[in-house]
Symmetry: C2
Subunit: 224 residues, 2 copies
């Protein structure tokens, strides 16, 4: 899962590990504070799989062919960057990674294949959504609908759990709040799905009726 996140960030711009961590935290929001013990092994993994390559290892020469338009002025600083300008600068060694063609292929493959329904699915979905602009409109729609189905299933099991009378006050409140949150999530997804549908002309209609709001409203009406 981390691999996907890293490839997604490198997809846009070559970067070094520490910066990847910062962007994961500040931009994505998923991976509140990804551990270095996850990040660096993941980068090594990806390098071993030829999905990324190390562009620049230290502050020395070997300027990359692409003079990337990015933020900081990494090249050959440190030498005599003693008192002149360059207020934010290189900092130590830095291994800058660049995604390869194979890595790009792996990225797309992870983006719509990997999706196993496991414990940590909210994070997985959030990550995919954050990179949704990179995938085909129909795959995007499929992603949203898979997530919707997932949440609908959860809603069903949550209601079974809430219907029992063995729960104490706190656990009951927890389950009820969880149910509400899931309904809120589904409503959000429905908005996204509708918005996607408007952007593309209904791929291959027929047997396709608008299902907006079936399970959500059903939560109010399933009990006799």
């Amino acid at each position: 899962m981390l691999d996907l996140a890293i490839l997604g960030l490198l997809h846009e711009q070559e970067q070094h590990g520490y910066e990847i961590r910062r962007r994961l935290r500040d931009e994505l929001g998923l991976f509140a504070n990804i551990s270095f013990g996850s990040l660096y092994p993941a980068l090594s993994r990806l390098e071993a799989a030829h999905a990324v390559t190390v562009i620049e290892s230290s502050g020395g020469a070997a300027a990359p062919s692409m003079p990337f338009t990015g933020s900081l002025s990494g090249e050959r600083a440190g030498l005599r960057a003693r008192r002149a300008g360059t207020p934010r600068g290189t900092k130590r060694s830095r291994k800058v990674y660049r995604i390869t063609d194979q890595g790009r292929r792996l990225f797309e493959q992870l983006l719509d294949a990997d999706e196993r329904p496991g414990a940590d699915d909210a994070r997985s979905f959030g990550l995919r959504l954050a990179f949704a602009r990179h995938i085909a409109p129909q795959a995007r729609l499929a992603l949203l609908e898979r997530r919707r189905a997932q949440l609908t299933r959860r809603l069903a099991t949550d209601q079974v759990r809430a219907s029992g009378d063995t729960l104490d006050v706190y656990t009951r409140s927890l389950v009820e709040h969880s149910t509400e949150a899931t309904e809120h999530d589904i409503a959000w997804l429905d908005r996204l799905i509708e918005s996607e549908r408007l952007k593309q002309p209904a791929p291959r209609s027929e047997n396709r009726e608008p299902h907006t709001g079936d399970a959500v409203t059903a939560t109010k009406g399933t009990s006799p």
Copy 2:
């Protein structure tokens, strides 16, 4: 974290591993489907730490001293349970675990100490809340307020993230929805906190003003 969950369930009734897994899934809802690769090592861990003991190892003799009032008729079945009644029954070996006094101490210790603000804090809080009936009213209130502070902090960083203009449509939607969800969580916590306050006579007031709804409403007003 699993240790806490296991001790919490064994706190109420002695059980075997498979059943613990079922209750974690069906009652708590956290740990959607806890892995056996987590569960059984955790039980061994707890046994090694003398927090739990194995009461009954197989379908043989050695009936536990306490004839626990619980559900199923485990004792000495399997022998000649061939065609007569007993529709749900023993099933194979089963190692039944019981919590020890030391385990009970560990449980209380984990319940209010461990709380590290890490990646997986929603689960950690949910777990503690599910066992909140076992702790002192003031500790319960403290738990709720710590969680509230945590979410308020998250709200602040989420707003910083949303204020940047570098996000694409999908990521922006993700962040906005996440913010809403956090606000919803805080409102829920405020309800729980109020409900707790009514149950106990304000421990030691002074310098304590009702803070219900400061950060939540602040999310509408911080921008100039």
